[in-house]
């Protein structure tokens, strides 16, 4: 291998090693700042509550029997939310039973436990549990029953006649509920009634981006950091002193979540929430959306997509119409979402038409969390400085991809910084594209300044060390774009030679070059002529009286 290739391998390996070391260190520094900020936040209230929800038609403020109105509460824990977002815990949690990436909805390890999963190799849903089975002679006994369900039916053995689900989305496991499945391959909904042995098939969903279901049932993401709960109104029971939730004189009362016809919400990739009509298995569009939490730079937005927020949770609400239709009626939903940087939560209640009827944002606001809480300003300044120690190219890339990178990447990425100030400014939908770029550049200014300074230092040193014009240009550009890692790499891999003073320009020059790298002067090599003079010592002149060779030559001439 020639010296040039060796030099290239040395630069490449040193550069990547330095980059790894630096980016890993900066990652943990940023992560600990998030941790400090989250810990400060935990000391203040992190509950967001709507009270009353305004969704129950019978609930009026002037009701004398009303003891406590209905409420919806989003409990938010930024501190807990930070750990599961790291790559390794995130992988394990998402692959466990009932995790978002798991095909296993429920798996009880004991021998007779309930097992409910999707068998991808057969394309069938599987449900196993202990069940009472009636024999032909009329007696019943308990045994473990495994049922297999496909688009065409249910059987106790896997059968090709059952068909195949190609890429199903299920609403998970609710013991008494029928299972709802949306198959992306067939673009239709199915309801599987395991106990009745029936599969109902819905009509085709029209093609297009408008309908792109990604979650069914109770859509949620990162339930560890954001929990949504709902409490019924409490009324005085007529003629009694006791309090009974949601009953009393009214003909309507809230539904228990374990009832048979619990409404199935469908979350689309756009963030829109639809309602599945349980009778026709068609979608009733836009009954709500994922609310957009306020961020440091973005105050108002209509709705957010699932990829725009770190955590969300949506619950439907229903009441039983005792007097009228004698059936359950959907009355709206409550939805909560946490911002990418875990500094804001928005809770909103939607009526059945999808109109927001009540909303509440988390206190303290992102402005307080970044600037006003005790120690917040210091953390913000340190975070800003740390971000600007990253290579300019990383910050620029983070800004350009700010809206496309999922929020989890902020806690799993070494190179991209989706939660940097520059990226947050670039995501501000209220500003025009030019203004967003200008703001983003403003937050990158220290990094750009550092890049310019390092590029100047490298350029000056490259001239001093006599690098070729091409090498100098590459190192200068590298130091500007890649910042400190490139500069450190340059310092570690630059030629290690001692400089000598140039006789022509007086600057340091490379001893291994024929010409001075600064002035181009060659080495001043003295002409090696033997001197005509001699230094003779006394004893020598006494012993040797004969003429010197030079004198002889002069005499002969």
């Amino acid at each position: 291998m020639n010296a040039r290739n060796r030099y290239f391998i040395n630069i490449l390996s040193t550069g990547i090693l330095v980059t790894f070391l630096m980016l890993t260190g900066l990652f943990w520094a940023r992560w600990h700042l998030h941790l400090i900020r989250a810990a400060a936040l935990q000391e203040t209230t992190v509950k967001v509550q709507i009270r009353p929800t305004g969704l129950y038609p019978f609930e009026t403020a002037d009701d004398p029997n009303l003891v406590s109105p209905s409420s919806a509460t989003a409990e938010f824990s930024a501190l807990i939310g930070l750990f599961p977002k790291l790559g390794a815990p995130h992988y394990i949690l998402s692959h466990l039973s009932s995790g978002p990436d798991s095909n296993v909805y429920l798996w009880e390890a004991k021998e007779e436990g309930v097992r409910f999963y999707f068998n991808a190799s057969r394309g069938l849903m599987v449900y196993g549990r202990m069940s009472d089975v009636r024999d032909p002679n009329g007696t019943t006994h308990r045994r473990y029953v495994t049922q297999w369900a496909g688009p065409e039916g249910i059987a106790e053995t896997p059968d090709e006649n059952l068909g195949r689900f190609e890429s199903p989305i299920s609403d998970g496991f609710y013991e008494n509920n029928p299972q709802t499945v949306y198959d992306e391959g067939q673009r239709r909904f199915f309801v599987i009634r395991w106990r009745d042995g029936l599969v109902r098939k819905g009509p085709d969903i029209p093609q297009g981006e408008e309908f792109d279901p990604i979650q069914l049932g109770l859509p949620s993401k990162d339930f560890l950091s954001l929990r949504l709960t709902q409490a019924d109104a409490v009324y005085k029971q007529p003629g009694e002193d006791g309090l009974v939730p949601g009953r009393a004189i009214h003909a309507l009362y809230p539904q228990s979540p374990r009832m048979d016809s619990w409404p199935t919400l469908v979350l689309n990739a756009s963030g829109r929430i639809d309602l599945l009509n349980p009778d026709t298995l068609t979608l009733i569009p836009h009954v709500g959306c994922i609310p957009a939490p306020r961020t440091l730079f973005q105050s108002v937005a209509e709705r957010a997509g699932p990829r725009d927020v770190t955590a969300y949770s949506v619950h439907p609400l229903a009441v039983y119409q005792r007097d009228a239709d004698k059936k359950w009626a959907y009355i709206g939903c409550i939805a909560a979402a946490a911002s990418r940087d875990l500094t804001s939560v928005q809770l909103t209640a939607f009526d059945p038409d999808g109109n927001p009827v009540a909303g509440q944002a988390m206190r303290p606001s992102p402005d307080d969390i970044y600037l006003s809480l005790p120690g917040a300003s210091l953390v913000t300044v340190v975070q800003f400085l740390l971000e600007n120690l990253h290579p300019t190219a990383c910050l620029a890339l983070s800004s350009l991809t700010a809206s496309d990178v999922p929020p989890e990447s902020a806690y799993q990425s070494l190179v991209l910084l989706p939660n940097s100030f520059a990226a947050m400014a670039a995501r501000d939908a209220e500003l025009s594209r030019v203004n967003r770029l200008a703001y983003s550049l403003l937050f990158m200014a220290p990094a750009i300044g550092l890049g310019v300074f390092l590029a100047w230092r490298v350029s000056r040193d490259a001239v001093r060390m006599g690098l070729s014009k091409q090498e100098k240009t590459l190192w200068t550009l590298g130091a500007f774009a890649l910042g400190l890692p490139a500069y450190i790499t340059y310092r570690l891999t630059r030629p290690t030679v001692a400089l000598v003073t140039c006789g022509n320009c007086g600057q340091g020059r490379r001893a291994d070059f024929e010409k001075c790298q600064r002035c181009g002067a060659p080495w001043s090599v003295p002409e090696l002529m033997p001197p005509a003079w001699r230094v003779l010592g006394e004893p020598e002149s006494a012993e040797d009286a004969s003429p010197s060779p030079a004198q002889e030559m002069n005499q002969s001439a």
């Binding site: 390996s13 790559g87 992988y91 095909n103 296993v104």
Partner: protein, 206 residues
């Protein structure tokens, strides 16, 4: 080459034996979990021994290079019909052998445990595959980091540098998880460690 590998193993047999013992402890803990169910003490033993396995790999790499530098082993070997490239490859292969000793028994135990306790689905087989690949790469990265740090005369540099690089490798696994991105990053890290080691090792004077 085989002679060189055997020589590496013989010279650093302490670490190979240590790796075998740790593997045995992991397998024993897994057998306990298979028989009596998953319990906290056994899990702690598995985590602790697993972490120690990676440390042993790092220390092995360091010992291989530090011992060479101190005792001028490669200078002696270079008088035979071997190049420094051969010596380095033999060291890396000796590290791979240790990695196999460290990983394979635990992996087999893990597969058996999952077969007993978790659904027999492709999904979990894929998960075992993902985790195994990342752990194998992390082990190689730890050994590579040891090789890189070990080529020095300074004991202080070894003591400070090795934990630092091992922490970086562990950080990469924690940050990136067990997916494709982790594989790419760890493969890059291994390439970097080997590349830099090769450069310093083959550039050094006899």
């Amino acid at each position: 080459m085989l002679t060189l590998i055997v020589r590496e193993i013989r010279d650093n047999h302490v670490y190979f034996v240590l790796s075998c013992i740790l593997s045995a402890v992991i397998v024993a803990a897994m057998i306990i979990m298979m028989v009596y169910g998953v319990n906290e003490e056994a899990m702690i033993a598995v985590y602790l021994c697993g972490g120690l396995q990676f440390t042993v790999l790092g220390v092995l790499g360091t010992a291989q290079m530090f011992g060479d530098r101190a005792n001028r082993i490669s200078t002696l070997l270079s008088t035979q019909a071997v190049t420094r490239n051969h010596i380095l490859i033999a060291r890396i292969l000796a590290g791979v052998v240790t990695l196999l000793i460290a990983l394979v028994p635990g992996l087999v135990g893990c597969v058996l445990l999952l077969r007993l306790r978790f659904p027999p689905l492709d999904f979990y087989s894929r998960m075992i595959g993902d985790v195994s690949i990342v752990l194998a790469l992390a082990g190689l990265a730890c050994h590579g980091a040891g090789l890189l740090i070990g080529w020095t005369n300074s004991r202080a540099r070894v003591i400070a540098g090795l934990p630092c690089l091992l922490l970086v490798v562990a950080s990469l696994v924690v940050i990136k998880g067990f997916g494709l991105s982790a594989v790419v990053v760890l493969a890059l890290a291994i390439g970097v460690f080997w590349g830099r080691t090769w450069h310093t090792f083959t550039s050094a004077s006899m």
